[in-house]
Symmetry: D2
Amino acid sequence: MKTARVFRLSMAHPGDLSELENLITSGTVAASDVVAIIGKTEGNGGVNDFTRGYFTQTLMALLSKHLNKPAAQLIHEIPCVLSGGTEGVMSPHYSVFCIGEADASTRQYPSALAIGTAFSAPVAAEDVGRRAHVESVTAAVREAIANAGIEKLDDVHFVQVKCPCVTVARAAAAIAAGKTPLTNDPNKSMAFARAAGAFGVALALGEIKPGDFKESSLLSDFTIQSPRASISSGVEVESNEVIVLGNSPAWAGPLRISHRQMSDALDICGIVDVLADLDIPARPQVTAADADRIACVLVKCEPDRRGKIRSNRHTMLDDTDINAQRHIRGAVAGLVAGVVGDGRIFVSGGAEHQGPDGGGLIAVIASQARGNA
Amino acid sequence: MKTARVFRLSMAHPGDLSELENLITSGTVAASDVVAIIGKTEGNGGVNDFTRGYFTQTLMALLSKHLNKPAAQLIHEIPCVLSGGTEGVMSPHYSVFCIGEADASTRQYPSALAIGTAFSAPVAAEDVGRRAHVESVTAAVREAIANAGIEKLDDVHFVQVKCPCVTVARAAAAIAAGKTPLTNDPNKSMAFARAAGAFGVALALGEIKPGDFKESSLLSDFTIQSPRASISSGVEVESNEVIVLGNSPAWAGPLRISHRQMSDALDICGIVDVLADLDIPARPQVTAADADRIACVLVKCEPDRRGKIRSNRHTMLDDTDINAQRHIRGAVAGLVAGVVGDGRIFVSGGAEHQGPDGGGLIAVIASQARGNA
Amino acid sequence: MKTARVFRLSMAHPGDLSELENLITSGTVAASDVVAIIGKTEGNGGVNDFTRGYFTQTLMALLSKHLNKPAAQLIHEIPCVLSGGTEGVMSPHYSVFCIGEADASTRQYPSALAIGTAFSAPVAAEDVGRRAHVESVTAAVREAIANAGIEKLDDVHFVQVKCPCVTVARAAAAIAAGKTPLTNDPNKSMAFARAAGAFGVALALGEIKPGDFKESSLLSDFTIQSPRASISSGVEVESNEVIVLGNSPAWAGPLRISHRQMSDALDICGIVDVLADLDIPARPQVTAADADRIACVLVKCEPDRRGKIRSNRHTMLDDTDINAQRHIRGAVAGLVAGVVGDGRIFVSGGAEHQGPDGGGLIAVIASQARGNA
Amino acid sequence: MKTARVFRLSMAHPGDLSELENLITSGTVAASDVVAIIGKTEGNGGVNDFTRGYFTQTLMALLSKHLNKPAAQLIHEIPCVLSGGTEGVMSPHYSVFCIGEADASTRQYPSALAIGTAFSAPVAAEDVGRRAHVESVTAAVREAIANAGIEKLDDVHFVQVKCPCVTVARAAAAIAAGKTPLTNDPNKSMAFARAAGAFGVALALGEIKPGDFKESSLLSDFTIQSPRASISSGVEVESNEVIVLGNSPAWAGPLRISHRQMSDALDICGIVDVLADLDIPARPQVTAADADRIACVLVKCEPDRRGKIRSNRHTMLDDTDINAQRHIRGAVAGLVAGVVGDGRIFVSGGAEHQGPDGGGLIAVIASQARGNA
């Protein structure tokens, strides 16, 4: 039966894949085991963040060398989801998701981490942030769930989607071709793309139905949320790339995933609760021994668009110097890293419709405690 | 006997003192009770942060109107210590420290919050960050301790000093006058000024002796620390402004202060411990009822200059887009605000020599629990 | 007959009005002569730029002291138009526009600089950027033209309007009151407010008629332009503040104004031409003697929203680190300052509908050459 | 005899070398002709600007494919000097310097553009910005001049050096190894590295002698300048990479180079003069026909460290939001681009010792006018 492994690796700069290369060279990982990457690079996380493209180019060149497949092909087979911006205490790192075979007789736990991936067709510039985009995401998420072999939608805990957006150049090209992009403001486009991704995940997970929303609901009706969606958007992709993470009795291995909603940017309870789900106490910090059991921490967050957090004014949305997403990532990462005692966490902004306004979600993958066997 | 009151007030912008005006107009506070202000304004916290000057001008005009004293005089009588930068979840606010008289017969607790203030003479541009600056701070801190009526140095928990620094213009003027400023880089000057402040506090509190350091120890020998010093630096002051906060049996009232070191930027234990000192549990978050007892949270922090936090690389010091102090303030504020459930916290960067490298300190003022009476 | 004087003064920081104070104290200027201020302060020029409020508060306190009128009244009588952002070679400064009386018998030139000002009623948050906003501007501009005594609309060369915008807080308040602001994104609101200002000026100058545009034309139909409008927007004003500058035979004095369109950000010809209009050659730089004749340089500019300048891609609109308006101000100021040899120039971004896309306008006030008398 | 060609190519993003690929694929350029690259990428130009590494990786992979040499070898053979930061009107682009053979009988001009390159050995972290670094640069520049076949030092017009600097990580590693880097502040290190480069060029060109300076003269004695040095510094190189450009009778072809000092950031005369040297008038802008003759524009500039430009205060050095180098690049590029009518110009900050304080240099390569033959 299948078994998932997750390696959390550090990088010295966005083009540094030496830790993965070492794992491959030493035989710990076969290049063909690698099915997905989720990472944080030290860019600004905005339209002009090229650290993601740099990392991806380097990764694909590395895998290409070991797999004897062209990088241009791999880029459409292995989702590489990077979130730029390691504000504050975050440490640049990437998690490598691998699938291997395990002997069913050795399984220790009734269910284990399951992984599935999928790619949609390219999304046209004029479709970004529109219903066609939503539907494109939904189809890809369903394919990834099937690919993971997860039968119950409740067993899905985290759906990462990387959506394309428009740049000024792409918008201009579309306009020149007689098309009408939703916006030619790249930051706005990224927001609409993330909304489309969240709606697409919600549809795929049965949390909403096609008739529950209109195109205009995107970025306006924030009661529509998917508490398991984690959407990024960036200039470097043209199709939706999907990674589904859940638990399944069809998979073996010690890893398990859980998720919780974060109700706002101060919701330390959500963090402590998701750790408790995995039998990891935080009083107030996870012990070093338990921290070693944690394989991956995935967080989405968002500056509250009402301008206040628990009735106190925040200044993130009115700041012309620092982008609001950089503000919120730095703050929430400070909180999560303080609880888990480790800065190698994936905290991504832009959580529109991926939890309550001003909040988001946290998912953690950890080895199951021995006593659970 | 004397009693201290602390009002934590919000502002809509750096020139908005309406909440204090309301307190004065309504008679809750007499303008003459106000002895010090500590606040966070929404600037960048750097040399070109004019939100501090704007707030100060507005404050002094307000008090001038009510006290019938010129603003130009008040500015040398009432320390107004502002830290720019409300990154992430921080909310712009200011704490007004007031001293009143209480009938000794009504006292509830054996000791209570005590406040003392002092101003040094102006510091010349060429002295900033040098031994003369250190000594100037020491003398002012001693004066403020005496002024607070605190007899035991152990009862001092927090010494806030606002130190002058050089700007490019001030440095140029000094050079034109034949003087040699330590640096003409304003950000560097602010760092040296903060170091001088910390050394000055350490001397005043007896933590170090004059022979324990050389001028070159500033910003180089980080074993020299004062765990109770909180130093700011800014272009808007020319002399050292000192606020001493401690507990004293000579004071009445429900308030009490405690402090703890933060060993690094992930040290949630230091936060939980200082709250426990004041009988405020955080499991994991302070309850709303206990949060109401908290009058003021004061934090200093610093990006670890070794480039790592608990062996993982951070990117704060190499970032040309966002100043390192803005990074660390946002991260540490995210952690502290998550524990106390409130973004109205004073988190100030630039903690050189004010705790271990990469760490800092946290002090909390809270009403004593009823059972303590 | 009336005569206009313009003093271009430097400041050490946004609260430094000492040069104006010196002029008043020395008797060069009577406080009652001051009718308007246009200046550049060293903020970021965005929603959270409080240098403008700081300067304004200081200015009004100064004038209040000398005029014995409350600052709160003066702020509705004397337009103080500040543009934040002294990127690159720009030097923080402010131009003080004064009106005095001249003996008609001494006049040297057939016409001279004329100044008029006006204030509209406050603009509601939900009206910002809408037709009601346009009409409010138009009425105020007409009042200012009348106020200047300019009879021919062709003699109007520069109409400065400072328009209110929404902040996150104002938008939230309006929504809570059941109103629908055009946007709750403050930067977007500032852009719509500038568009409304430009349409209002175009209407007042007869460049367009009310039926020539729809509300949706704002920020979408860029063929609608007023080549004499200079619009700023900021959080610190609630009504439209208007300053009209032109030439009039009813005014005496040596000063004269001219303006030219800048067709794009590289249009050095527009700069040289407007100087030539005033008999000031630039080959390639204005001589020091001629530079002394220049009293004020006023420029509006805008990053080309098509993403290219003369077929080469620019990166201003895709930059998450530096706001696009800061980029363009720095570049255009570099060009204008290089021609005039002086960094004390007013270069303001946000030139939507105030010239061609990617371009803007330049107006210069200078003393007329002796030979012209 | 040898002939130089220069191709100025645009890029859609830092990993886009498609225009060069097209030239190679179409046979216009042989990969083996390429001897150097100088370009502007759209990063921040600071320590954490990874657009340079991304471009370089892409370039070397492209050349590797066509030359059948490993990229790791090419990187030590072909200097790739990139300056991050396309502030304002600058357009991301790169100039490809190629050397070919020309039949001596067809030569049109008595001398023509000559190119030489060289690489030094790696510079240790503790040597960066010290005399050893200076000497390493000098040796490499001499090698490049010889390599170009330029016999008279007066014929050298532009010496580009890319110097290594320390990052926080490199500095920490050096310290751990018992070494003492000059600074562990990466931005400071970049400045010292640029100073060492300028001193090295001045020595190589005979402008100064070894006894003319002390190690402490770097970044302190600004009377020491090389008006032909253009130094960059970045994290992505470990040795000094040198490109020498000059004119030589030993070379054929239409191209010619000239250079001028820029005395300050407003020195439009320097720009017009260097164009005049090449028979290109700018009245005030270069005509489209003449603009086509321009192959490359190379500029160095620097914010005046005395805080003023022609007696007016600038704010570049006191800005915590935008790095001073980004400010000055945007301003000077605005001026130069306005004169040449083209944003594809190389404007690089950090001109310490590469011209007068606050100024810099400009070099232009252009085809010689027909009449010159």
